[in-house]
């Protein structure tokens, strides 16, 4: 431990406070009993798909297309997920198979 216990607790509280503000703020600004502005409703409908895109990119941000394995394991696994999901449309099956394919690729093939 680098910090004292009291300092560590203060750090944890500071981090928790920062996180909580980001979680609570929208619900405080737009309380249940008041009408939500039309623009915010619009954002509420369009943001999820955009954020899902951001999360995918965020997960893949560490890939280097210039160095081996060039992001090939990720690309192949995602192709498997897309095809399987188109075919069976089963969320768990697609996620499970995609993950197993990825694990085999990074453990056995692109070592």
């Amino acid at each position: 431990m680098y910090l004292t216990p009291v300092q560590t607790i203060i750090m944890i509280l500071a981090i928790a406070a920062g996180t909580m503000i980001t979680r609570i703020l929208p619900f405080v600004l737009f309380p249940e009993n008041k009408e939500i502005p039309v623009f915010i409703t619009y954002l509420g409908k369009t943001l999820p798909a955009a954020m899902m895109g951001l999360l995918v990119v965020y997960c893949l941000k560490g890939i280097s297309v210039l160095n081996a394995p060039f992001g090939i394991p990720e690309l192949l696994s995602i192709i498997v997920i897309i095809l399987l999901h188109k075919w069976k449309s089963n969320v768990l099956l697609s996620i499970g198979s995609g993950t197993i394919v990825y694990m085999i690729l990074v453990q056995k093939i692109f070592v």
Binding site: M1, G18, T19, T22, T46, P48, M52, I81, T99
Partner: protein, 234 residues
């Protein structure tokens, strides 16, 4: 009698909700354990890692915070960094305003534990019609929270005893987001927002690098969605 009915409704909601959380179970146990182990190697035992997971519950920020816990004491920096790294929650909150309406006391808890994964599942996968929405959202949120805290705990006590080759297992969360992106894609009106999300974040990644990708992406997304409102209006 009423209690009996509540129990049955809760059980039905559990059965409907639990399967959707299985990918998170896998991912969070794995990453939570990795976090517990990492904290351990920096001299922060299981008590500290579990306390952090339970109080802050913010995966990527917790990993980032390890560097802050091993440097000079600076809580203000930690607070500001936490605000920035977690700013994406603002967008989740805005998206969940409608769905979390009228859920009573449970709502506070749902807001407290709203993370990437819980948001993705709760937003994308509607509860079946005969299922109590309140219980459904609560179970998804509570289980995801439990997985993370338990994972941290296991990592903290087991340390490096785990020898199974788990390389690549964290891809389960990437896979979850990919699948839920496809689910969004099925609805035509979500396609442009989805494309905007991808292009904005790839652009930010190329310009600002992988360390600072989230905030610029959010700003570009917000500007593009605002500018395209007339065209995208749904």
């Amino acid at each position: 009698m009423q209690n009996e009915r509540k129990k049955t409704a809760f059980k039905a909601a559990f059965i409907a909700a639990f399967p959707h959380t299985i990918p998170v179970l896998t991912g969070f146990l794995f990453l939570g354990m990795a976090y517990g182990v990492l904290m351990q190697t920096k001299g922060y035992g299981v008590l500290w890692s579990v306390l952090m997971s339970a109080a802050a519950f913010c995966g990527s920020m917790q990993f980032a915070a390890i560097t802050l816990l091993t440097a000079a004491f600076n809580p203000l920096q930690a607070f500001l960094m936490s605000l920035m790294v977690n700013a994406r929650h603002l967008f989740y909150g805005i998206s969940m305003l409608e769905k979390y309406k009228g859920l009573g006391k449970i709502r506070g808890f749902l807001i407290f534990v709203l993370c990437d994964e819980t948001f993705s599942i709760s937003y994308n996968i509607e509860p079946p019609e005969d299922i109590n929405r309140k219980y459904y959202y609560f179970i998804i949120s509570f289980l995801d929270y439990l997985y993370w805290v338990s994972g941290t705990f296991l990592g903290g006590i087991l340390g490096n005893f785990i020898t199974v080759n788990t390389k690549g297992l964290d891809f389960v969360l990437t896979a979850l987001f990919v699948v839920l992106f496809i689910e969004q894609w099925k609805k035509k009106e979500n396609r442009w927002p989805g494309i905007i999300g991808i292009i904005s974040s790839v652009t930010s990644l190329l310009i600002f690098g992988q360390g600072n990708l989230v905030i610029p992406s959010m700003i570009i997304i917000l500007i593009t969605l605002t500018a395209g409102r007339k065209k995208l209006c749904i």
